[in-house]
C-alpha cells in the first residue's frame, strides 16, 4: 500500500505530497500535464503584468522534488481503472497505484455561448491560458480591446492584467453590481467605482449573447444580449466561474456529481481513491461552506488533512473558521467568519466606509444574541489569529468593535480608523 499516485500538481496535491513525505517513506508520484513543476496559480496574473517571471511563481526550487523523493510525471491521465488500480495515460502507457488521489482542480465555465471556442477566447486558469493570452494580447496594438465575461475574482484579475498593458477592457457583469452574490451592497458598489476609476468599461446587468468570428476563425466582436450592441474586440476572457476538472473520471466507477463525490474523510465511493481541492464535492456541505470549495486555502487544508489518513491516521476534514482574501485592483480584501451578501434572518450588518472610497468594512452579527459572526475588510489588513480566536470564543459584536485595533495588521505608521469606525458603530446603535 505504499505506491501513492496524485493526479494534479496544484496546491492540494503538492501539500498532500509534502505532508505524506514528512510522515512516511511511501513512494509518491505526482502527475500533471500542465507544467513540470508546481507553481502558484494565483500568481499567473503577475507574470503577464511583468511583476514576476514564471520561475518566480514556483514556491520550491527544482531540486526540492528529487531531494524529497517526490516523482514528477508530465503526463495526461485519460482513464482510471479502479478494478485493476491502474491509470491509462495519453501516451498509451499505464501506471499502477496503491492509493490514488485526484486533485485536478477546476476548469473555466463555458455556458454554450455561440463562438466560445474561437481563437482569442480563453479562460484565465491554466498556464496554457496565460500563454494563449500572451499570443492574442501581447500589447494594445495587437489587441485593441478585450471583453471579459463574468464578474468574479478571476474576471477582475484579468481586467487588471490587461489594464497593465494599456489594453482597453470592457467588463460584462451579469449581476447588478460586482460580485454582489458574495459581497454586501456597500462593498460591492465601492468596488464598482474603483473598477471605473481604473478606466475599465464596467457594464453591469449585462449578458453576453454571442461571440462573432472573423474570416480566420478569430474573435472579431461580441454582441450584448440586452441591447444588441456589438463591441469589436480581439480577445474575450470567459471568467464566469469554474467547475471541477473531472471529465476523465466520468468513465470510471468513481461517483461524481458536479465534482468527485467524497465523504468527510475525502474518500470516494471506491476504496483507496480520494479527491481533494477544487474537484472534490462533499456529499453534504460542511457547516455554512459550499459542497465544492474552489479556494486555495481549502485545497491546502484538504491536503494537510488527507496526508494523515493516507499515513494510517484516518482523519476527518474539519476546516476551522472560514477565511479568505483577494485583491481588487488596488484594494485588498480579507474576510473572517461569515458575512453574507444579504444578512440572514436574525442577522444584521454594520457597515462603515471611509470617505476616500477605498476602505470599508462590514461586520455581521446576530441581532438577537449580539454574537459576532464575521467581518469583511477592504483596504485595512486584519490579523487572522485574532479573529480566529474571537470566533472561537464567540465574542459579541460590542467586544469586537471595541477591540478592533488589536486585530489591525496594517504596516507600521499607517493611519488607524478604529476610533472613527467605533463612533460610527455607536451612532448606528443609537439611531437603530
Amino acid at each position: 500500500m505504499n505506491n501513492i499516485v496524485i493526479i494534479g500538481n496544484g496546491i492540494s496535491g503538492v501539500t498532500l505530497a509534502r505532508h505524506i513525505r514528512k510522515l512516511s517513506d511511501k513512494k509518491i508520484t505526482i502527475i500533471s500535464a500542465e507544467t513540470d513543476y508546481f507553481f502558484s496559480r494565483t500568481a499567473l496574473m503577475y507574470i503577464y503584468m511583468g511583476h514576476m517571471k514564471f520561475e518566480h511563481t514556483q514556491p520550491y526550487e527544482n531540486w526540492f522534488w528529487e531531494k524529497n523523493r517526490i516523482e514528477l510525471l508530465n503526463a495526461y491521465v485519460e482513464a482510471i481503472d479502479t478494478d485493476n488500480k491502474s491509470l491509462r495515460l495519453a501516451n498509451g502507457s499505464h501506471l499502477n497505484y496503491d492509493k490514488l488521489i485526484i486533485a485536478t482542480g477546476s476548469k473555466p465555465n463555458k455556458f454554450g455561448w455561440p463562438g466560445q471556442d474561437l481563437k482569442g477566447v480563453m479562460g484565465m486558469y491554466h498556464k496554457q491560458d496565460l500563454d494563449n493570452l500572451e499570443v492574442h494580447a501581447p500589447n494594445k496594438e495587437v489587441c485593441k480591446r478585450a471583453v471579459i465575461v463574468g464578474g468574479g475574482l478571476i474576471g477582475i484579475e484579468l481586467a487588471e492584467m490587461l489594464n497593465s498593458r494599456s489594453i482597453p477592457v470592457t467588463f460584462l457583469v451579469r449581476e447588478s453590481s460586482f460580485w454582489n452574490g458574495v459581497l454586501p451592497e456597500g462593498e460591492s458598489q465601492m468596488i464598482n467605482r474603483h473598477i471605473k476609476n481604473h478606466h475599465i468599461d464596467l457594464r453591469l446587468s449585462t449578458n453576453l449573447k454571442e461571440i462573432k468570428s472573423d474570416e480566420n476563425g478569430k474573435v472579431k466582436s461580441v454582441v450584448i444580449e440586452e441591447t444588441g450592441e456589438e463591441i469589436p474586440c480581439n480577445v474575450v476572457g470567459l471568467t464566469a466561474g469554474v467547475s471541477p476538472n473531472i471529465d476523465f473520471v466520468k468513465s470510471s466507477k468513481i461517483e461524481t456529481g458536479r465534482g468527485i463525490k467524497v465523504n468527510r474523510f475525502l474518500e470516494t465511493n471506491i476504496p483507496d481513491v480520494y479527491a481533494i481541492g477544487d474537484c472534490a464535492e462533499q456529499h453534504e456541505a460542511i457547516g455554512n461552506r459550499r459542497p465544492i470549495e474552489a479556494v486555495w486555502y481549502t485545497g491546502r487544508m484538504m491536503g494537510e488533512t488527507l496526508a494523515q489518513t493516507i499515513c494510517d491516521k484516518r482523519r476527518e476534514y474539519k476546516p476551522g473558521h472560514w477565511f479568505n482574501s483577494a485583491k481588487f485592483l488596488d484594494i485588498e480584501y480579507q474576510t473572517y467568519g461569515w458575512v453574507w451578501a444579504k444578512p440572514k434572518e436574525n442577522e444584521t450588518h454594520f457597515h462603515w466606509k471611509h470617505e476616500d472610497d477605498t476602505k470599508c468594512l462590514t461586520v455581521g452579527y446576530n441581532k438577537d444574541t449580539n454574537e459576532f459572526i464575521g467581518i469583511n475588510t477592504f483596504g485595512i489588513r486584519m490579523r487572522h489569529e485574532t479573529f480566529d480566536t474571537w470566533l472561537t470564543e464567540k465574542r459579541d459584536v460590542d467586544y469586537v468593535m471595541n477591540h478592533l485595533s488589536e486585530a489591525n495588521f496594517d504596516p507600521e505608521f499607517y493611519k488607524h480608523y478604529e476610533a472613527e469606525i467605533l463612533s460610527a458603530y455607536n451612532k448606528q446603535l443609537q439611531t437603530a
Binding site: 514528512k22 502558484s40 494565483t42 500568481a43 503577475y46 503584468m49 511583468g50 511583476h51 514576476m52 517571471k53 518566480h56 511563481t57 514556483q58 514556491p59 526550487e61 500563454d131 500572451e134 499570443v135 501581447p138 500589447n139 495587437v142 497593465s164 498593458r165 476609476n197 486555495w296 486555502y297 491546502r300 487544508m301 494537510e304 488533512t305 494523515q308 482523519r315 476527518e316 476534514y317 474539519k318 476546516p319 476551522g320 473558521h321 477565511f323 482574501s325 485583491k327 485592483l329 488596488d330 485588498e332 480579507q334 477605498t358 489588513r381 486584519m382 490579523r383 487572522h384 489569529e385 480566529d388 472561537t392 495588521f409 496594517d410 504596516p411 507600521e412 505608521f413 499607517y414 493611519k415
Partner: protein
C-alpha cells in the same frame, strides 16, 4: 509573435522631455570629464545637477501621480534596464568603470596631484566645495555630491511610488535626511570649524567605517582635544552601546534601511533592481560564508592595526598592546560564551557559522599575541592587511561590485554578501531582537511577490506559506515584501521575544485538533 513583449519605452511625451533634461545634465558632467573647460563652473555645475534632479522629479511625477495609488511594478521584468537586458548590462558597465576610476585612477577625473589645480570633472565641483568648506573639491567630494543627489532625487521618486505607504515614505525621508545631513553637509562644516579633524560621518559605524581606528585617524582625533576625543568616544559608544540597544528594540532596520548611506542608495537609486537578487538556496549558502569571512577579516585587521601603534609601557598610556588584546579577547569570549549558554537551542546553521567564525577570531588573536607575531598576522604585516582590506573590501567589494553591479546582482549585494556591519547587526537581530516579520495565519497564497521583491534575496514566501514568522539575520526591514503582498500576509513588528520564531506544519484555519496534534511536536 510570442516573443513580442509590451513596449518597454512606453513613456509619455512629458517623460521623454524629462529624460532628455536629465541626460543633458549628465552630458555636462561627461563633457567636464573629458576636460571641456566651462567658463563659469558654478553655473554649469548648478545646471548639470539641477537638470539631473529636475529630470528625475518630472519623470517620477508623470510616472506615479497620473495613476491611482498602489503597487507600481508593472513591466519590471520586461524592461531591459531592470531585467538584466542590454540596458542593464550597459548601466552596470558604466557604473563599474566609474567606480574603478574613482578608487584607483582619480587623476582621470581631474584630481590635481601635489597641489596642482583640479581639472576636468573634479574642477567643476570646486565652486560647490569652496562654498561649503572653503577648499577645492576632491574625487570624494564629487562622489559624495553625486551620491547625495542620487539619494535625494530617487528618494523623491520612491516616495511617490509608495505614496500609499507611510512606512516607506518615512523611512525614505530618514535616509535622505541622514545622507544629506550626516554624510554630506556635517563633515564639511566640521572641516570648516576644525580643519585638522579627519572626515567623520557620524552615522557610519565601525566596521563599516573601517578606517576610524587607523593610526592617522585616531591621532587626528586625539590631537584635536576634547572635540576629537568626544568624536572617537562617540564612535566606540555607537557600536558597543547605541547600536545594540536600537537593534534589540527595532531590528537592524534602524540602521540598514533608515540611516545607512549604502542602504540609502540601494533603497532609492537601487530600487529598480531589487528583484534581481538571487533567492536560490545556493546564493544563501554563499552569503553566509562570505559575509562572516569579511567580518572576521575586518575584526582581525582592525585589531592588528590598533595593536601595531599601541605601546608596551603602561606608563606612557594605559591602553598598551597587552591590555588591548586582552580587552578584545575578553569581549569576544563573553559574546561567544553568552551565545553558547543562552542561545544554543536557537542556533540555526547560519548562526553556528557565525559562532564558529567568532571563535576562530579569538584563537587567531590569542595566537597572534602569544607567538609574538606582533606586527605580523601570519607573517603578513598589519599594514598590508589594512591596505588589502581597504582595496578588496572597502573599494572593490563595497563600491565596484556593491554598487557597480546593481543592475546585475540587485541593489544590496554588498549589504548581503559583504558588509561586516550588517553581519554584526544581523547576528544580533537573529538572536536578540524584538523584530520579526509576522506572517498572518493561513492567508498566504504562495504567489512569490514577497520573495521577488526582497533585495536581500530572502525567500520570504518559504516562511510565509508555512505560517512561520520571518526572523532572518539578513533582513534589513525595508518592508517592501509587506507592501507588495496582495493578501495582507506580512507585517514588520517589534514585539516580545517569546514565540518570535514559530515554525508550524499545519496552518491556521484548519482543524483545531489537527493543528494542535501536528504543530506541537
Amino acid at each position: 509573435m510570442s516573443l513580442a513583449k509590451p513596449d518597454a519605452i512606453n513613456i509619455t511625451t512629458k517623460q521623454k522631455v524629462a529624460l532628455a533634461t536629465g541626460i543633458v545634465g549628465l552630458l555636462i558632467l561627461a563633457l567636464a570629464l573629458f576636460n571641456t573647460n566651462f567658463p563659469n563652473q558654478g553655473v554649469f555645475l548648478t545646471l548639470a545637477l539641477g537638470m539631473v534632479s529636475i529630470g528625475t522629479i518630472i519623470y517620477s511625477r508623470e510616472a506615479y501621480l497620473t495613476k491611482l495609488e498602489g503597487i507600481k511594478n508593472d513591466g519590471v521584468w520586461f524592461k531591459s534596464i531592470s531585467s538584466r537586458g542590454v540596458w542593464g548590462w550597459l548601466v552596470g558597465v558604466i557604473l563599474t568603470s566609474f567606480y574603478i576610476v574613482l578608487y584607483f585612477y582619480p587623476q582621470y577625473l581631474g584630481l590635481g596631484v601635489d597641489g596642482a589645480a583640479n581639472t576636468g570633472l573634479i574642477s567643476l565641483f570646486d565652486p560647490l566645495s569652496q562654498l561649503l568648506s572653503g577648499r577645492n573639491a576632491s574625487q570624494w567630494f564629487v562622489y559624495g555630491t553625486l551620491y547625495t543627489i542620487a539619494i535625494l532625487a530617487f528618494g523623491y521618486k520612491f516616495i511617490l511610488k509608495y505614496r500609499h505607504n507611510r512606512y516607506q515614505q518615512i523611512r525614505t525621508i530618514s535616509v535622505m535626511f541622514f545622507q544629506l545631513g550626516f554624510a554630506f553637509l556635517i563633515p564639511e562644516f566640521m572641516y570648516v570649524m576644525n580643519n585638522d579633524l579627519p572626515y567623520y560621518d557620524l552615522k557610519s559605524m565601525w566596521p563599516l567605517n573601517y578606517y576610524i581606528f587607523d593610526e592617522w585617524s585616531v591621532s587626528g582625533f586625539l590631537s584635536n582635544g576634547n572635540i576629537g576625543l568626544a568624536l572617537i568616544l562617540f564612535g566606540i559608544i555607537t557600536i558597543f552601546v547605541i547600536s545594540p540597544i536600537l537593534t534589540y528594540k527595532f531590528g537592524k532596520r534602524w540602521y540598514c534601511s533608515w540611516v545607512c548611506g549604502c542602504g540609502g542608495l540601494a533603497e532609492t537609486a537601487g530600487d529598480s533592481f531589487r528583484q534581481l537578487s538571487s533567492k536560490k538556496m545556493s546564493a544563501w549558502k554563499i552569503e553566509r560564508w562570505l559575509i562572516h569571512l569579511v567580518l572576521v577579516f575586518s575584526v582581525v585587521m582592525t585589531t592588528a592595526m590598533v595593536y601595531t601603534y599601541l605601546g608596551y609601557d603602561s606608563n606612557d598610556f594605559w591602553l598598551t598592546k597587552g591590555v588591548f588584546i586582552s580587552l578584545v579577547i575578553g569581549f569576544l569570549t563573553i559574546v561567544f560564551a553568552g551565545i553558547m549558554i543562552f542561545k544554543r537551542h536557537e542556533l540555526g546553521k547560519d548562526v553556528k557559522y557565525g559562532a564558529i567564525g567568532l571563535f576562530a577570531v579569538i584563537i587567531l588573536l590569542v595566537t597572534m599575541h602569544f607567538t609574538g607575531t606582533t606586527e605580523h598576522v601570519f607573517y603578513v604585516k598589519a599594514g598590508a592587511l589594512r591596505s588589502a582590506y581597504g582595496i578588496y573590501i572597502g573599494s572593490i567589494f563595497s563600491g565596484v561590485i556593491g554598487t557597480g553591479f546593481y543592475p546585475i546582482l540587485g541593489s544590496r549585494s554588498w549589504c548581503r554578501f559583504g558588509c561586516p556591519m550588517a553581519a554584526i547587526l544581523g547576528f544580533q537581530q537573529r538572536l536578540f531582537s524584538k523584530f520579526r516579520i509576522t506572517t498572518n495565519g493561513g492567508q498566504c497564497i504562495s504567489c512569490g511577490n514577497c520573495s521577488n521583491s526582497c533585495e536581500m534575496g530572502i525567500d520570504v514566501r518559504h516562511y510565509a506559506q508555512k505560517g512561520e514568522n520571518i526572523v532572518r539575520s539578513s533582513c534589513v526591514g525595508c518592508g517592501i515584501c509587506s507592501a507588495v503582498c496582495p493578501r495582507g500576509v506580512l507585517k514588520l513588528e517589534n514585539d516580545s521575544m517569546n514565540g518570535r520564531i514559530n515554525p508550524t506544519e499545519i496552518l491556521l484555519g484548519n482543524d483545531v485538533d489537527l493543528m494542535e496534534l501536528v504543530n506541537e511536536k
